[in-house]
């Protein structure tokens, strides 16, 4: 069992909040293949298509047969810890502030021997363990040696927490608590140990089912928040922005029209105002405060979650203007990711397929249940995933899109 971190210890307010530092971020273009896999939470290494040799670290040509036909493929994550050591000195600013730091040499079952960051509960060498690929605070892929079996409080490991965005003991803002997804998110975050959850709600005179119930959770504080109102977003950020560790941007407006099925631009403009400009307003007002707290102890500002849509990848014509607004939001989220990265704050983009909610009423199943989506988001935060495609539909579309974007465009429009 790992040692549990305490959430009750409050920050000493007379000490300066340390500025965020990052671990070394430079990677070759080939090495970014590992980052791409880590972003999805997949353990992939290069494998030679000619001789089958698995490669590490990433390289241009096979170290055995010199073939350049190397592909990123999923690998067995089991391995054996050959040796472990603890760093007590580093000239790197990031690690210098986090010493001592445990490292190990692991022989992977799939072939290569790798240097990995080592979880405190991994037993001394020789020992069986599991190797995960994780994104570090610089947004780059690293390997982490984990105990063979899950244990209680494993996610509380001080080193592991540098690679994840665990909601435990953190303060979270969910921008819309009136939607089914928002309510499921609040419940899932509370169950995951979030210390405080601010729940935004727009148009207070509209009473929607479940919202009153949500406010009975001890972690929950309701805040009037309308992402279409710049003044309101600014005021809420001024009030709580310096406390928010995880921001979940889930307010969305979804109408079910293409171009021909709705006269005028008003419905589409309303979608853009919430789905795109809403994100921009939140990013401008909450971004600076969160960037300032990227290294604020064990409960630092750590993640920004955007509820996008699989339709951001390819337009779904029956929901054409909604798709366009989510594509715009995805592009902006990439900009936000670049601006948050120097502070080590991860931007998690979520691409669900059709959610089982009011506006997808006429779409046939399978549809993603709000509770399943919320659970997937919490899991992604715990595992440090950056691009989340929750559910079977999203996974299938992702594979089709990666395989042939043009084919997916035609399939969705037929």
């Amino acid at each position: 069992m790992s040692e549990s971190i305490s959430g009750s210890k409050r920050k000493n307010p007379i000490l300066r909040t340390r500025l965020p530092t990052l671990p070394p971020a430079a990677r070759s273009r080939v090495a970014l293949g590992l980052t791409a896999a880590a972003a999805l939470g997949r353990f992939e290494l290069q494998q030679c298509r000619d001789c089958g040799m698995v490669q590490y670290p990433p390289r241009e040509a096979c170290q055995k047969c010199l073939s350049v036909r190397l592909s990123w493929t999923r690998q067995d994550d089991k391995g054996e810890l050959l040796a472990a050591t603890v760093l007590h000195h580093s000239n790197d600013l990031f690690f210098r502030e986090r010493l001592p730091w445990r490292l190990g040499l692991v022989k992977l079952a799939c072939g290569p021997t790798v240097v990995a960051h080592l979880h405190s509960a991994a037993p001394p060498a020789p020992a069986k363990l599991r190797v995960a690929v994780r994104l570090d605070r610089a947004g780059q892929a690293v390997l982490v040696g984990l105990p063979d079996k899950e244990n209680v409080n494993m996610a509380d490991d001080r080193q592991l927490r540098e690679f994840t965005c665990d909601p435990k003991h953190r303060k979270v803002l969910v921008t819309d608590g009136k939607s089914a997804v928002g309510q499921a998110l609040v419940k899932a975050l509370a169950a995951a140990g979030a210390e405080l959850i601010w729940v935004g709600h727009a148009e207070p005179w509209k009473r929607l089912p479940g919202f009153d119930e949500l406010q009975k959770l001890p972690q929950v504080t309701a805040v009037p928040l309308d992402v279409t109102d710049s003044k309101n977003v600014r005021e809420v950020a001024a009030e709580i922005g310096a406390k928010v560790d995880i921001l979940v941007s889930n307010a969305e407006l979804h109408r079910t029209h293409g171009i021909a099925a709705r006269q005028g631009v008003e419905a589409a403009r309303a979608e853009m105002d919430v789905n795109y400009f809403g994100l921009l307003r939140l990013a401008q007002e909450f971004g600076p405060a969160m960037r300032a707290r990227g290294a604020d102890g064990l409960a630092s500002a750590v993640a920004w979650v955007n509820l996008l849509s699989i339709y951001a990848l390819a337009n779904f014509p029956p929901h054409g203007t909604f798709s366009a607004s989510k594509a715009a939001a995805q592009s902006l989220a990439q900009c936000l990711r670049a601006e948050m990265r120097p502070a080590g704050v991860r931007v998690v983009n979520v691409f669900p397929g059709p959610i089982d909610d009011e506006w997808n009423q006429l779409l046939p199943p399978p549809k993603l249940a709000p509770a399943s989506l919320a659970a997937a988001i919490v899991k992604a935060l715990r595992e440090g995933v950056e691009d989340l495609y929750p559910g079977d539909v999203a996974q299938e579309w992702l594979e089709r899109w990666r395989d042939n974007p043009k084919a997916l465009e035609r399939e969705l429009s037929s």
Partner: protein, 260 residues
């Protein structure tokens, strides 16, 4: 002395008081909400262009956006289907002298306090006329409910439950009576809508919109400070923006009141 010279002299001498009948335009002020599948009026929103900064060093200004029916606003006859083909039915074509008229202020505040769904009836109006005299032709008839005092509390102001909005307004016969037998200029309320919150269930639905606009008369909504007006004797000036073919407009409605 000319009438206008006498007027300006009385104004500067404080013998005529100007009462602001307008709610402040702000993002927080409640806006009309239709079922979500329908087209929606924009709420009032404001974005800073510059504030003595790198975007404009010596000046402060904003862009604002809102629907024609936002905040304290004017309804033109073209707003409703019954008034769509009338002459001079839009904000740009209404003759400007129609924006000024004597005010008859019907104090229903006690009734509205007891019953949010209070409907103003012909009998009620006749009772008021017994005390204050017949409503003159071309008058603004303003239904005072003190609803404007809820303006700082959007939940109380909108007053929704799961059957919709509950706010006071006129009944069908009262609207017909005011148009046909009193020839009024228009009807004003303190809540969102010249019709009652539940007026979609009247026959016809939204009678004040249907008959008032069908007869080329106007509406004023979200008025404030009606409690500062006498039952008769005030003059209301309510000029909408000159929007081409506009169905309505936010406006600065004011009343002139002679002090005793």
């Amino acid at each position: 002395m000319s009438a206008l010279a006498g007027f300006t002299r009385a104004l500067s001498a404080g013998k005529i008081r100007v009462v602001d009948l307008t709610q402040t335009l702000s993002p927080e002020f409640p806006h009309i909400s239709l079922p979500p599948e329908m087209g929606q009026a924009w709420p009032f929103r404001i974005e800073e262009v510059s504030r003595y900064d790198e975007r404009g060093p010596a000046w402060y200004w904003n862009n604002f956006s809102c629907g024609e029916h936002t905040g304290t606003h004017f309804d033109a006859p073209i707003h409703w289907i019954s008034g769509k083909d009338l002459p001079q039915n839009a904000t740009d074509s209404i003759p400007p002298e129609r924006f000024i008229g004597p005010a008859s202020v019907l104090n229903c505040s006690e009734e509205a306090q007891k019953d949010a769904d209070f409907l103003l009836s012909v009998d009620w109006i006749r009772g008021w006329e017994k005390k204050h005299g017949r409503i003159p032709p071309r008058a603004w008839v303003l239904m005072r409910t003190d609803w404007s005092r809820r303006g700082h509390d959007p939940v109380a102001y909108q007053n929704y439950d799961d059957t919709g909005q509950h706010t006071p307004g006129p009944d069908v016969d009262a609207v017909k009576f005011l148009v046909a037998e009193r020839d009024i200029l228009g009807f004003g309320t303190e809540s969102i809508g010249t019709d009652a919150g539940q007026a979609q269930h009247l026959r016809p639905p939204y009678p004040c919109h249907y008959f008032m606009h069908g007869a080329g008369r106007y509406g004023l909504q979200c008025l404030a400070n009606l409690d500062l007006l006498p039952p008769t004797g005030a003059v209301v000036i309510a000029a909408p923006l000159k929007i081409r073919n506009g169905s309505g407009s936010p406006l600065r409605a004011i009343a002139l009141v002679e002090t005793a």
